[in-house]
Point group: C2
Chain length 298, copies 2
Amino acid sequence: MSVRKQLAVDWGTSSLRGALLDPQGRVLEERTFARGILTVPPGGFPAVFETCFGDWTKAEDILCLIAGMAGSQQGWMQAPYCPCPAGFDEIASQLTWIQPGRIAIVPGLRCENNGMPDVMRGEEIQVFGALQLLAIQDALLVLPGTHSKWVNVQAGAIRNFSTFMTGEFYALLRQHSILARTLPESDGAIDQDAFDQGVALALGGGSLLQTAFSVRTLSLFDRMSSTGLPSYLSGLVIGEEIRAQQLAAGTSVILIGSDALTQRYERALAQRAVTVQRVGAEANWRGLWALAQTIHPA
Amino acid sequence: MSVRKQLAVDWGTSSLRGALLDPQGRVLEERTFARGILTVPPGGFPAVFETCFGDWTKAEDILCLIAGMAGSQQGWMQAPYCPCPAGFDEIASQLTWIQPGRIAIVPGLRCENNGMPDVMRGEEIQVFGALQLLAIQDALLVLPGTHSKWVNVQAGAIRNFSTFMTGEFYALLRQHSILARTLPESDGAIDQDAFDQGVALALGGGSLLQTAFSVRTLSLFDRMSSTGLPSYLSGLVIGEEIRAQQLAAGTSVILIGSDALTQRYERALAQRAVTVQRVGAEANWRGLWALAQTIHPA
């Protein structure tokens, strides 16, 4: 096991997060900045990195692994996607080093589904972190979000995965569609009944193209309160994501993400008799720490 | 049959169209204005109507029927929805008269699908017009658009219908989603192969939440030309709408709308061995003229 300190970085589209880890992987300090890659001008990545983490990287023996969109075409340096199946070894052998032995970008993953390519950058680290935390080698994992990922892991390697633009569709419908006129300004607290009703309709079949219109008509005929409509729409999109999965009753999945979001998924999955285990944001730091152990074995 | 001239008006969300019809229903003159109901301030409808059609409505014996969103909450005067099943007689008996015997707003329709309400305003007139033009009483009709309608007609009455937000989803993804960065500025001419590929993927099952992401990944790996991507996305959303229908092979549908759009639907439906008849914008004027005959029988 490495005896070095580690700077673990998740550099995403809209935010930049870093954690200083001790040699045992414990988080000594965490920082979050609104400096996602979209805010960084071409060539500006080293300066942003120095501003945000320069004090931490002064240490002679620090190891810094950066996961997420920093490795994309629009990021710091392109880190080619690693093909599935991929485990720790495959990822560790395809790091893109910015400073050899000190700072590296972790590759994303790619796979094929029905002849279509799929990609992820950053979620793979959370997956490996969750496997470590739960001490398991086989699982179906779900990472809800703007682009939700369903990830199939066997024998410690990601075999394949699929992306659902669930969070983005919610935001598009919430902010830019005709439904925006019907919905209240703010989402407010979740209305569980309205959420469940949306999930149930979505699981019944059909398509979000159709079910989304019921947000408008239920409001038109005063059959749902305005305050319930955002939760109902959330249930429709999450339910649609779940409808599209092949899930036998009794299946168990691991949900990775914020409490607010994974609780919604747990509730929705219960309608299909799927049980869940929930893992929080600690999966990310744990995954990067575990990857560092692979690179620098004791 | 009425011997009066008729002003047929379709007052929609984004545009206002009117046609002066002779007593036999022939179009004498047509006008289109960018004065959809969203551009009209509260109380401003009589003035806009007078500006656009005042010269036509001077005639003593003119009859004016207005279909579309003019009868909605945000329109000129609310014309309550007529419940399905509904034929000409039901609609004719529920006109909302602005000037008794001279100017009336045609009601929209409502129905229930799986416990959810659905509504239309204006499309019902095109449906009845198409039935008249084709001299039939039973049909499955499809009106593609921002909010596509699938309409089931039996014995001359609309039994039920369902709405799909297909055109709106296309616009949302095209303009506001992460895919907008991948797509070229302008749609350009349709790329038939790319369109067919999108339809095929959508018909294969799953959900638009997933298939839409392939616009990004196909581009990322240079597996589709940038100019083909808008057609591919169009195929994905239209294919998704068609996937959600229960259509036996050999089914025939009537498509009502512009050539550009109905040709795409015809092509997509062919992948499910569904044959089509296409009817153009004349269905609208024909429907309002036929409705006028019901109100003023000879």
